[in-house]
């Protein structure tokens, strides 16, 4: 894992001191809320439905047990005993006091964490594959590149007042576990025929009220030019984007309006201008960063776990994935207990996951965009012990990628922008399908409480969008989305439903799927074969 050097630590510490003074001045009445708001947002502090909300960055979703324990400590000390892991691989606390926020940032800084660039019109936390460094199908660990982007863009003044927020994802395998093409820039590490590494560069993806899947604008960018090319993308956008209409300022709108080809040409021209400046991060600096991501000292030997316990065997088949090193496995810890709140974990659960990582996963954890936690490097011999500990902590739901593994934004229970509640709908669906979810196979269900789409509803095999219908909660149903390598945007089925009505409608959808599916077809495959018409009558009669 990357470790801060003295420079990293000093800029984060300086930011804590700066914010402490800003908060003091706000509380003392030296500055108004209008003056303070942009300052607190630069440190991830929002005012939400019930209190202040703090979003803490977890770079590319990677953290160690010391950092995880600090997150538990913050939940226990400053919040109400829990945190919410988000689709951007971060964590949010819902009950923060402004007067304590500087202390929280100071505590975070002691474990090399912060809330910088988790809000506002900035380059946000870079996301990546939760199996990075562990998965058999990757070309190389994508995280050194993500870290390089993080360093090169943190506090970069040119990118501090962008037209809108900007999100970058880096992956290194054919399978996309990070919704890469739904980012402003999506990067996939590939090798060319000569064996050199480069990136496929996708620009202009995103969700929100105008969702787009990012088109490919460059098929092979040599890795050494990663930063200058991203810089060119940012400059073309920064210079050309509208700034008069907040809904039209993301890069996806510009790419859509210019067309991918014209946008790519503009970036190419800008890049040629930039190249002589030598703004790329030197190879030696990349090598310094990459050294922090050297694989751990895996032990030899490969012993399959004993499958005698049937519940354990189900968990193994559903939540444990193959590792690149024989004898090891990747463990997915579901934060989706049936009837629970997707992505929430108590301080005790966070501590337990930290303990398991320290003892059994070379001290590493990952947060996934599906709001689960991963132990990336677990000896197969330790799987049963881990499973037992997870069972005791209520963390052993065997539902990875099943219908109850729901992505849900906080919705109207916590979010001041919401139109409808997301969490109760997730709870009802998970409860309704708990007994038969394995028969439904992979089925990604995603719920947002408003058009901002933090819950990725456009990218759900089944998506749900909360809307406000004359003051009551109403839910639109979407089918056919995907955030994976077969990315697609869901289509709205028709008129919306009440809270209970949407659960019934989903059951009619899954019943229809079971009735018409062919051998080996996932729900998404069946939908793509039969189309919306194949479901519409079942839904609306």
């Amino acid at each position: 894992m990357y470790k801060y050097d003295q420079y990293d630590q000093s800029i984060v510490d300086a930011r804590v001191d700066e914010f402490r003074d800003q908060a003091r001045r706000r509380l003392a009445g030296e500055i108004t809320e209008d003056q303070f708001k942009p300052l607190r947002l630069k440190n991830g502090l929002y005012l939400q439905l019930h209190a202040y909300m703090l979003r803490v960055a977890i770079p590319y979703g990677t953290l160690d047990s010391r950092q995880m324990r600090k997150l538990a400590y913050i939940a226990r000390t400053y919040d109400r005993g829990y945190g919410h892991f988000t689709t951007r691989q971060n964590i949010q606390y819902n009950w923060i006091k402004l007067e304590e926020a500087p202390d929280i940032l100071a505590d975070l800084a002691t474990v090399e964490m912060h809330a910088i660039q988790t809000s506002g019109e900035s380059i946000r936390n870079v996301s990546s594959d939760q199996y990075a460094g562990a998965s058999a199908d990757e070309i190389a660990d994508p995280r050194p590149w993500a870290e390089l982007i993080r360093q090169a863009t943190t506090f970069h003044p040119e990118f501090s007042y962008l037209p809108r927020k900007f999100k970058i994802a880096v992956i290194a395998s054919a399978e996309d576990r990070a919704a890469m093409r739904l980012h402003d820039i999506g990067l996939r590490l590939v090798a060319n025929d000569a064996g050199d590494l480069g990136f496929e560069v996708y620009v202009g993806g995103g969700m929100g009220r105008t969702p787009f899947i990012a088109p490919l604008i460059r098929a092979f960018l040599p890795v050494d030019h990663l930063f200058s090319y991203c810089e060119a993308v940012l400059r073309v956008w920064n210079r050309t984007a509208r700034r008069d209409n907040i809904h039209k300022q993301r890069v996806k709108i510009l790419v859509h309006q210019m067309g991918a080809e014209a946008f790519a040409a503009a970036v190419e021209a800008e890049w040629q201008e930039i190249l002589p400046n030598k703004s790329d991060v030197p190879r030696a600096e990349f090598d310094r960063i990459a050294a922090y991501f050297t694989p751990p000292a895996f032990e030899a030997g490969d012993r399959e776990p004993d499958r005698a316990d049937p519940d354990f065997a189900v968990w193994l088949d559903q939540n444990v994935k193959p590792h690149k090193h024989p004898g090891y496995a990747i463990v997915n810890i579901s934060l989706k207990p049936i009837g629970g709140i997707p992505g929430d974990a108590s301080a005790d659960q966070i501590d337990l996951m930290a303990d398991l990582a320290e003892r059994h996963s070379f001290d590493e954890l990952r947060v996934t965009h599906a709001q689960n936690i991963v132990l990336p490097h677990v000896r197969k011999a330790d799987l049963y012990t881990i499973w037992q500990a997870l069972v005791d902590a209520g963390l052993a739901e065997s539902n990875l990628d099943l219908i109850s593994d729901i992505i849900a934004c906080p919705g109207l229970d916590y979010c001041s922008l919401a139109n409808a509640r997301s969490i109760p709908v997730a709870q009802k669906i998970a409860t309704r399908f708990a007994g038969r979810q394995r028969d439904l196979g992979e089925l990604k269900l995603k719920i947002s409480g408003c058009i901002n789409a933090c819950g990725h509803h456009h990218a759900g095999h089944i998506g749900i969008l909360g809307v406000d219908k004359k003051g009551t909660e109403n839910y639109q149903l979407l089918l056919g989305g995907s955030g994976a390598e077969d990315a697609s945007l869901g289509k709205i089925t028709g008129p919306g439903f009440s809270e209970d009505g949407i659960v019934d409608a989903i059951e009619r959808v899954t019943d229809q799927y079971i009735a018409v599916r062919q051998d080996g077809e996932r729900f998404l495959d069946t939908y793509r074969r039969v189309g919306m018409d194949g479901f519409k009558e079942a839904i609306y009669g």
């Binding site: 706000r26 509380l27 009445g29 809320e33 005012l47 439905l49 019930h50 209190a51 202040y52 109400r80 819902n94 009950w95 923060i96 006091k97 402004l98 007067e99 709140i341 109207l412 229970d413 916590y414 001041s416 919401a418 509640r421 969490i423 109760p424 709870q427 003051g471 009551t472 909660e473």
Partner: protein, 98 residues
């Protein structure tokens, strides 16, 4: 009726104007008629409230009921965590929000 709400500046807690000060409980809120914005601005200047705004509510036997569900959730707490609401022991409280 119109009631005045906002957040406590240092803690962020949801608060309601009682006519003489601020309360955590919407039941204490009073009808501000047309004076809500003036009161809100004056209180904000004194840092006794952050982000004040006036909402519509209906007068009920249990006190004011905010017209919009968003303010009813604000007034009680998250419907999915009854233990964290202002009425953890009142089983009917959440149904009244919805």
């Amino acid at each position: 009726m119109n009631i005045l709400t906002g957040n406590d500046l240092p803690t962020g807690d949801v608060i309601w104007w009682t006519g003489a000060g601020w309360s955590r409980h919407v039941a204490d809120a009073v009808d501000v008629g047309t004076t809500g914005e003036t009161t809100g601005a004056a209180e904000e200047a004194l840092r006794r409230v952050n982000n004040p705004y006036v909402i519509e509510a209906t007068d009920t036997a249990d006190g004011p009921r905010p017209a919009h569900i968003k303010d009813r959730v604000r007034a009680l707490g998250p419907t999915v965590r009854p233990d964290l609401t202002l009425k953890p022991d009142d089983a009917a409280a959440i149904a009244q929000v919805i």
